[in-house]
């Protein structure tokens, strides 16, 4: 006993020494460029007032997989609306359709005042949506499920038709004179991503190839796109389906010594910088912040004034909105806040 405690205290000495040394080194090692300091010197967030209506609880249940930038922005929009409308927001998500349905059931059990839900796999959600309705909880849809929200009896829907977005993308490719594009899908079997590529294929007059990459392993994404560009040197446009993959595709293009240009669906901070620099040509934005915000705000309006957008007939479209060099300046500052 005695010996071991003695040993332990002796072992502590180097730890303390290292910690002290580290603290000293840190002080002398600051970066003169970039970093948090330069970010802080450039503008802050805007905030708004708050409603005085009675406190209500709303559940937002999505099919987000953990750590996805896109869903983070949806959630920020929802949180902003909740803060303004005096709403307690309960956010939950699961990419597995069965689990997502359980989370909706969980919200019903909590007797929330409203539910906003994504319908990535509408059939799996049918039963719980009906249950929510019979419990007199209003349900609105967002993001996925444009063709099914009415059938399921949702009050309203906020999103982008992925096929329409893909078609718009394909037309834009025609406009910029592309001849051969490769559509990079980062998650094999994802319905929305497949619809985007199908949409591109439908309107794009050139040739469209599909390429699957492993979205959880960036080096593999990079080398797979490089391989594709080498395999077929006639590819002159890479169509990415998410901002991080577009940024990686830029590196692949230079690795492959290809002349292909890169365009993408969805935005983030670094992507707006890349559009500004011209390394990425354009992006299609479906405005995820708006989807989250409107879905939550609409439940507040319905509860307090009985309004619903689209009159229960038409969805509210949040995209496709194109971002390119001509309009990137005004969007960049919002993207820097992580809200575009």
């Amino acid at each position: 006993m005695d010996r071991s405690s003695h040993r332990r205290s002796r072992r502590l000495v180097p730890v303390v020494a290292v910690a002290a040394a580290a603290a000293l080194t840190l002080a002398g090692c600051s970066s003169s460029s970039g970093g948090k300091k330069s970010e802080e010197s450039s503008g802050a967030n805007a905030s708004a007032g708050k409603a005085t209506t009675p406190r209500m609880t709303v559940a937002l249940v999505t099919h987000q997989s953990p750590g996805d930038t896109f869903w983070d922005i949806v959630r920020k929009g929802a949180e902003a609306a909740a803060a303004k409308d005096n709403i307690k927001l309960v956010y939950s998500a699961d990419p597995n359709a069965g689990n997502q349905a359980n989370l909706v059931q969980n919200a019903i059990d909590q007797k929330v005042d409203g539910i906003a839900v994504t319908l990535a796999k509408p059939d799996a959600m049918k039963d719980v949506v009906a249950k929510a309705k019979s419990a007199n909880i209003p349900v609105v849809g967002l993001n996925s499920g444009l063709s099914d929200w009415k059938k399921l009896g949702l009050l309203e829907f906020f999103g982008q038709d992925e096929t329409v977005a893909g078609e718009a993308f394909g037309k834009k490719l025609n406009d910029v004179g592309a001849k051969h594009t490769v559509c990079v899908i980062q998650e094999q079997g994802n319905v929305g991503l497949t619809q985007r590529c199908d949409g591109v294929k439908k309107t794009f007059s050139g040739k469209t190839d599909v390429l699957y990459v492993n979205g959880t392993d960036m080096p593999s994404v990079k080398s797979t796109i490089t391989a594709k560009l080498k395999q077929d040197s006639s590819i002159d446009y890479v169509t990415a389906l998410g901002a991080p993959y577009a940024l990686t595709a830029v590196q692949s293009v230079s690795d492959a010594g290809s002349k292909a240009k890169v365009a993408t669906f969805d935005l983030n901070k670094d992507l707006t910088t890349a559009i500004n620099k011209g390394t990425i040509q354009f992006a299609v934005d479906q405005q995820p912040y708006l989807q989250g915000y409107l879905a939550i705000d609409s439940l507040w309006l319905y509860k307090n004034n009985g309004n619903y957008s689209g009159g229960g007939e038409q969805p509210v479209l949040t995209g496709p909105a194109f971002v390119d060099k001509s309009n990137v300046e005004q969007i960049a500052k919002y993207a820097a806040n992580g809200t575009r």
Partner: protein
Amino acid sequence: MSMTRHAEPAVATPPAPGPKETDGRTSERPLALRLLARPEVGVFLGAAAVYVFFLIAAPPVRDGGSMATILYQSSTIGIMALPVALLMIGGEFDLSAGVAVITSALTASMLSYQLTLNVWVGVIAALIVSLAVGFFNGWMVVKTGLPSFLVTLGTFLILQGANLAVTKLVTTNVATDDISNMDGFDQARKIFASSFDIGGVQVKITVFYWLVFAALATWVLLRTRYGNWIFAVGGNKDSARAVGVPVTFTKISLFMLVGVGAWFVGMHQLFTFNTVQSGEGVGQELIYIAAAVIGGCLLTGGYGSAIGPVFGAFMFGMVNQGIVFAGWNPDWFKAFLGVMLLGAVLINLWVRQSATRR
């Protein structure tokens, strides 16, 4: 095994054995068969078969630049597959290896950015964090006696959640900020993520590190006392301890070695892509383990090599990129990958069995 086999009559190499074989036991069987019984030979033949197959099926593979792409992907798997293989020879698993790579990259990136420090501070801090994760895994496994499968499954989940939650807490986003304009970045990029021109082909630096690390690991495994300890603790922990092998030290250090690997690959990713997505890395641990197993390491420990996983990782990269180079229908991509890997493993198994059985 070969101890029980006494002088085989029809065997060539009679009295004059090679310069290294003074022992007498190893000279009993022909060189070819002894070679075939090495853990890495099966995978070497499998990898060669896959390589030749794609040389024929996919013309772009014949280009030097394409080979550089294949080697690059193989190297990012292969660098991690090496410590994972050593750990496996030592009789343990690490399921947290995939997300640990991202943990390391996130640590370096966020620390440097948030405190506006020279990126090298972040790099060193990330190494400390990675070593600590490895130490925790090893210490838990040794002290509790629980299967490493369970312990590292726990760390895998903890790290997966912490990667996301801490990133969100610190940056309010799920990806880290771009650090490419900070002090020390260019220098670090040169070390972790640059490329070299070899005969007009740009080869990524990770390929060299991969081969150097593999040579180093082979030397350690075959020529040092520590290497013997690894085989011993993986073969039979109790008898290893009985003959004086420091089992606790060996196992914990092996886990920490995986931490070093995770740190290295994490730094490569950070300095290649400037930012890190916090949700990445999930599922990679199985690919590292697969590369080690395809490379001839036994899942039960005590047997394997460091060269085998090099070919294992190469085979994985080759199949992965080869399918794209061949321009096959991408819907079948994963299925092709599975069939090719299974086929390669079968060749591997068959070679080893027929070599040891004769």
